[in-house]
């Protein structure tokens, strides 16, 4: 399993672009928002967590469709699934590697983008924490979308459609927790715990469902 993780990471970084595309897309989102909102720095700071979350969410969608497709096309998927390792575990490891290659860079970049948006340090810290806890959920649920569309040549958009409604809870709790850290009446801990719970739940459900779907994708 470590071997699988290492291979996935190697592929992701070698074929490259994965991480950078995500970060650059993130940058694009962060860059246009000030144009739309106008020069109101307070407003900008206020919607900062929301912008970071939306940026990260959308950036995570890029490249999700390749999660299993390449393995299927070159025949690796069949052999992976024949092994004694449970398919859900294989999916889980692939998700982790995918997240490490694409999600992690976003989180590293988020503080800098937070500065662009004139956010306070505390808000930035809270947002980064929520992103770190929340974005894996996108990958886990994205895996279901990727597994279900693995036979399609261009599944990217369909995956995004299937994934977006399902990640709403993460988005809501993530943004709520980020706000909670700065605005006084709003709590931080409670939504943060919920966010963690959602991620953990999807970390189980996603790989199970995706693994199940993949079993029938080889023919």
């Amino acid at each position: 399993m470590m071997a699988l993780f290492a291979r996935e990471l190697k592929l992701a970084t070698r074929v490259g672009a994965g991480a950078m595309t995500g970060v650059l897309f993130f940058l694009a989102v962060v860059t246009v928002v000030p144009f739309a909102v106008g020069p109101d720095l307070n407003l900008l700071a206020r919607i900062g967590p929301a912008v970071l979350w939306i940026g990260a969410l959308l950036a995570s969608l890029l490249g999700l469709d390749r999660l299993f497709q390449q393995d299927r096309e070159d025949g690796s998927l069949a052999i992976l699934l024949m092994s004694e390792h449970p398919s859900a575990l294989i999916v889980f490891v692939k998700c982790l590697a995918h997240w490490a290659a694409t999600g992690l860079p976003l989180i590293v970049a988020a503080p800098i983008f937070g500065l662009f948006l004139n956010m306070e340090a505390k808000a930035i810290a809270a947002t980064v924490a929520t992103l770190a806890v929340g974005t894996p959920a996108i990958t886990f649920i994205g895996a279901v979308g990727a597994a279900v569309t693995v036979t399609l040549a261009r599944g990217g958009l369909i995956i995004a459609i299937l994934v977006l409604p399902l990640v709403l809870p993460s988005l809501i709790f993530g943004v709520a927790a980020s706000y909670g850290a700065v605005e006084d009446p709003a709590p931080f801990t409670q939504p943060f715990i919920m966010l963690t719970a959602v991620t953990l739940f999807l970390a189980v459900l996603g790989p199970l469902a995706a693994g199940f779907a993949l079993k029938h994708a080889i023919d």
Binding site: T151, L166, D219
Partner: protein, 258 residues
């Protein structure tokens, strides 16, 4: 669906022994053909009664004639949720019992559910204009219906995208079930979301204590809608089965030639 065509050629046992025998597509077609006229008739009656009750209902002191929209809107909203439950059940049927009809049922229900959801959205928004003065607000309930609509459409898009019915069946079932897990979550999370930062602009939205004068037409309409759903669903299932047969016969013809 190979099982459909294969099973259909099996000599039928003399008597249907249990409800499961109706699962045989051929017998199902027979049953559907027999039931459909009755169902359609009952639906027509229910609609006639419902519409008559609706139009003779008193004007609401607050909403005026626009209360009429309620009789279209509320049942549509209910049906949009019921239809998804039917699909989730069918999804279970596909995955657990591997039943070919379950997949047919899921596929057939999706567009109907989407249509009801769309109707709820449109009538709600038509109602919203006179009531709240705007077509759309990002209110919890409205938004969750919109999300439901997106889920429906995602399922339809997926169904269209995958050519092979067998592969599609499992994918659809999985997505439907995963989506079902999410439906209560959407409902709750949307509440959390709203209470968190919304200075409610929609305070008037809420459950009006319902008068019997409104309740009766509403319930009748709900019954009519339900019958409509089952009629459409049966018809759509029948079409789907026939479509699959045509498809498999065409493939067979193409292959036999070679």
């Amino acid at each position: 669906m190979s099982d459909i065509s294969a099973k259909s050629r099996r000599p039928a046992p003399p008597k249907p022994a249990s409800i499961w025998d109706y699962a045989n597509p051929t017998r199902f077609l027979g049953l559907a053909n027999a039931v459909l006229p009755w169902l359609a008739g009952a639906m027509a009656l229910a609609f006639a009664a419902g519409l008559w009750l609706s139009f003779t209902a008193p004007e609401d002191y607050q909403q005026g004639r626009s209360v009429l929209i309620m009789f279209i809107h509320v049942p549509a909203a209910w049906l949009s949720m019921m239809c998804y439950s039917v699909m989730a059940l069918a999804g279970l049927g596909t995955l657990v019992w591997r039943h070919p009809l379950a997949d047919v049922s899921l596929r057939a229900a999706a567009p109907i559910g989407a249509a009801f959801t769309f109707l709820a959205l449109v009538t709600g928004s038509l109602w919203g204009k006179p009531m709240w003065g705007t077509w759309w607000v990002w209110d919890a309930r409205l938004t969750s219906v919109l999300v439901l609509f997106i889920i429906y459409m995602g399922i339809i898009a997926l169904a269209r995208a995958i050519e092979d019915p067998l592969t599609a069946a499992r994918s659809l079932a999985i997505v439907t079930l995963v989506g079902f897990v999410n439906i209560p979550i959407i409902k709750f999370s949307v509440d959390w979301w709203n209470t968190l930062h919304q200075p409610a602009s929609v305070s008037r939205f809420g459950r009006p204590a319902m008068d019997a004068a409104f309740l009766h037409p509403l319930l009748t309409m709900a019954l009519a809608y339900t019958l409509l759903f089952f009629t459409l669903h049966l018809m759509a299932m029948r079409n789907e089965i026939l479509r699959r047969r045509v498809r498999s016969m065409r493939m067979m013809a193409a292959r036999e030639a070679s």
